[in-house]
């Protein structure tokens, strides 16, 4: 039963491809994967927007959208209809071609990242050997598309936003990669599916062997998530968008469906990066407890992904935006050094893999100290001179 459920997507695929002659089956199967990703993540995107608005509402003591359909469940479709029926405005001074291409590209780049994410035990669209590299290459391109949008709009705000997007891209790609390198080091592979497999197994059947549950993995996950939030331009790093400063930055001159495409791309990008985070650090599709393996692996993946995204919404509901210099300072002076230290930490973890018994505790202590002490020290320099103040009263 479990095995059938686990293999269900494959069975469906085989059933459909069965209608086609043998030579084109690989093509049909590939197309099918694309359609499936588009359908599943299209729907996921639609309800993610709703969920974000609902949750943000709850964080802010209000119910959120609840007028379209029961509990507002039809809201995404109403939004889609609205976006499609709105007038599409292209500024006269804009670079028309780039202005049109930017939203298309940003969605395309957001989507191609999904190709290498293992959604389940048997569900990986393309099992590349250098999947992680491929993923980052695709991810960077979407930032370029944002720059394109900002440039093509021929608007001062959009221009500033485009510059910010580039600065942010350059700053945060590095910590993102530095956070990923330890994982690759320790699992010895760039293939996402193999990294997930490497995180399999449980101690006592309840403690999973996920990377996040090691000191270096926790630090890596921490750095990865901060960088991921910045890469996807979400609050508190939504500087290119910055609606209170730059109105909507690169989106200022977009309307109607093109605007919706940017919105879609933001969520695709977020889902993809969080999916990678889940894959690398949270054990991908692995179940948290041994006996829970009865639940199909792709369900676990989606549950983990949704939890991570919920945390991002929580952060968005709480935090305020950094300034661009503080943003880059955070990347270069905090995340990059921490990432480098974490690299050494992971090396230590790798070398001490055969320590056992009481040495195991020493290994944990050293590894934790190596990451906590720099965190505190660098954090202190980063926030030096900043503290809540006490006040006097006039007489």
């Amino acid at each position: 039963m479990t095995a059938t459920l686990e293999r269900l997507p494959l069975l469906v695929r085989d059933w459909i491809t069965g209608f086609f002659p043998e030579p084109v089956r690989w093509l049909v199967s590939g197309l099918l994967a694309i359609v499936a990703i588009l359908a599943v993540f299209g729907l996921y995107f639609a309800y993610l927007t709703l969920a974000e608005r609902k949750f943000l509402g709850r964080f802010q003591n209000r119910p959120g959208p609840n007028r379209t359909g029961p509990f507002g469940l039809l809201q995404p479709f109403a939004d889609a209809v609205k976006a499609l029926t709105k007038e599409d405005i292209v500024p006269q001074a804009a670079d028309k071609l780039l202005h049109f291409l930017a939203p298309c590209l940003v969605v395309a780049f957001g989507l191609i990242s999904f190709a290498v994410i293992p959604f389940g035990r048997y569900l990986i669209p393309v099992d590349l050997d250098a999947a992680v590299l491929y993923f980052f290459a695709a991810g960077v391109s979407s930032e370029l598309a944002l720059f394109m949008a900002g440039w093509a709009s021929h608007n001062k705000y959009s221009m500033i936003s485009a510059m910010r997007a580039l600065a942010q891209l350059i700053s945060y790609e590095l910590p993102l990669l530095l956070a990923v390198v330890p994982v690759i080091m320790l699992s010895g592979t760039l293939s996402t599916s193999k990294i997930v497999v490497a995180q399999g197994g449980w101690t006592f059947g309840i403690i999973p062997h996920w990377n996040v549950l090691t000191p270096w993995g926790f630090a890596g996950f921490f750095i990865f998530m901060i960088a991921a939030v910045a890469e996807t331009n979400r609050s508190p790093f939504d500087l290119p968008e910055a609606e209170s400063e730059l109105i909507a930055g690169h989106l200022t001159e977009y309307s109607g469906f093109k605007y919706a495409l940017f919105f879609m791309a933001e969520y695709f990008g977020m889902s993809a990066l969080c999916g990678l985070g889940v894959t690398l650090f949270l054990g991908g599709w692995q179940a948290p407890i041994d006996i829970l393996q009865v639940v199909p692996s792709y369900v676990w993946f989606m549950v983990k992904l949704s939890c991570v995204i919920f945390c991002l919404m929580w952060v968005r509901a709480t935090l305020l935006r950094l300034r661009i210099d503080q943003l880059t300072r955070l990347a270069w002076k905090f995340l990059v050094p921490l990432g480098l230290i974490n690299l050494g930490n992971a090396a230590f973890w790798h070398l001490s893999a055969d320590w056992s018994g009481p040495l195991q505790i020493v290994r944990w202590a050293i590894s934790a100290a190596v990451i906590v002490i720099p965190f505190v020290l660098i954090g202190r320099t980063l926030s030096s001179g900043l503290a809540p103040r006490t006040y006097r009263y006039a007489t």
């Binding site: 508190p236 509901a317 709480t318 950094l322 001179g385 006039a394």
Partner: protein, 410 residues
């Protein structure tokens, strides 16, 4: 970004290069003052970008416009542009009777209508020699301090919105503000346009039930403030974004006529409630918080601390509220014809000194009706505070000044 003065400490800017501050020390009559001094010197790295922020900008708090010249993202020049909401309020005041101007004052600073009412009533009382009854004075303190809390709630909420939160602190603040507005609605009939004060008293006497409700709300208010402060006051990003940003020196603040929390954040303990002691304020025990740095964080904290002080005042006012008529039975409101003369009445509004200058020629309409709008005059130093900071900071500095365009443009 060589010309950014933030080289010393992260997020800590020195006093911005407010060359107009030289006005204090420059020889008089020299043509090299103000705008001309603030010209850009030598932007040797690249062209400057002139950005018109507003009048349709989400963070200018209305139809306000700043013409900012940017070097990268650093502001080298910033000119405020007003008038998009100008309706010649003062001319309206000259063409209506004294009483009929009262509802118009609600619409000046529409987030703090009650204090506008009060300032106007005070000015007319000075002009016509009327005195409000004692109970009315206490009720004025009650509604005035509640108004201050409402206004500061709005301000901190909007300030955080300018700082880039996704509306959460704003909605928490508005949640509390709504409770106050409900009370105002019960007392005066409307949530924002009160038309409550009268010359010689107030229009409606608060019922004991109303007072009990208000007291319960005030008693619970510090709990909200504690939670609010826990929420974001200690937040590292908040500290980094506000501390050292938009510094204002006390000398410039005094010279530029800055009043209210913006002035007190610079360390000048000038509060008209203490200085003039109008109404029954001398009978209350409250303190005036002052800051030491004059930056955005201090301005934010002034509001928080003032709300706490307002709670103290309100609790005393509820305790001491005397019985008696709410309005002087002999008070003249309709068809008021003050003797020829003039009067300037001012109170400490939530945004600063709100004053009304009235000249009477003995007729039913004021000969001259002038509003001294605090947020308009506080904008004088906007450029000085913004120079050397980035666009993102300019928005925050503007938010921390607390302007309402109904009052700025009149």
């Amino acid at each position: 970004m060589q010309n950014e003065p933030t080289s010393s400490a992260p997020g800590l800017a020195g006093t911005p290069a407010n060359s107009s501050f030289d006005i204090l020390h420059s020889p008089l009559g020299s043509p090299q003052q103000g705008a001309s001094v603030r010209e850009v010197n030598d932007p040797f790295h690249g062209d400057l970008l002139e950005v018109s922020m507003g009048p349709h900008h989400p963070s200018t708090h209305g139809v306000f416009r700043m013409v900012a010249t940017l070097d990268g993202e650093i502001i080298v020049k910033l000119k405020p542009v007003f008038g998009y909401l100008h309706r010649n309020h003062e001319k309206l005041g000259e063409n209506t009777t004294y009483l009929a101007s009262m509802p118009y004052t609600d619409r000046l600073d529409y987030l703090a209508g009650m204090t506008n009412n009060w300032a106007y009533a005070l000015a007319v009382e000075k002009l016509s020699g009327q005195v409000a009854t004692e109970r009315a004075e206490y009720v004025r303190v009650i509604v005035g301090e509640m108004m201050r809390i409402v206004n500061h709630c709005c301000l901190v909420g909007f300030l955080f919105n300018d700082l880039g939160t996704s509306f959460t602190p704003l909605l928490y603040a508005f949640r509390e503000r709504e409770k106050f507005l409900d009370l105002f609605e019960e007392l005066t009939g409307t949530r924002m346009m009160y038309n409550y004060q009268r010359f010689g008293g107030c229009r409606v006497d608060p019922t004991p039930e109303w007072l009990a409700k208000a007291k319960a709300l005030i008693d619970g208010f510090p709990r909200f403030l504690d939670e609010y402060e826990q929420f974001l006051t200690g937040n590292e990003i908040m500290l980094a974004r506000t501390q050292g940003v938009g510094r204002l020196s006390p000398e410039l603040a005094i010279n530029a006529g800055i009043t209210g929390p913006v002035l007190r954040a610079t360390g000048v303990g000038y509060d008209i409630r203490k200085v003039d002691g109008y109404g029954v304020y001398p009978r209350f025990d409250f303190r005036v918080p002052i800051g030491d740095h004059g930056d955005t964080y201090d301005r934010y904290m002034m509001r928080i601390l003032e709300m706490r002080e307002s709670v103290k005042i309100l609790q005393q006012a509820f305790r001491d509220l005397p019985a008696g008529p709410i309005i002087d039975p002999k008070a003249k409101n309709r068809g008021l014809r003050p003797k020829a003369g003039e009067a300037y009445g001012r109170i400490e509004g939530p945004k600063g000194e709100i004053g009304f200058y009235l000249i009477s020629d003995g007729s039913t309409n004021p000969y001259r009706y002038r509003v001294r709008p605090p947020s308009f005059i506080n904008l004088t130093v906007l450029e000085d505070m913004c120079l050397g900071h980035s666009v993102a900071d300019a928005v925050v500095i503007l938010g921390s000044i607390d302007i309402v365009l109904g009052e700025v443009d009149r």
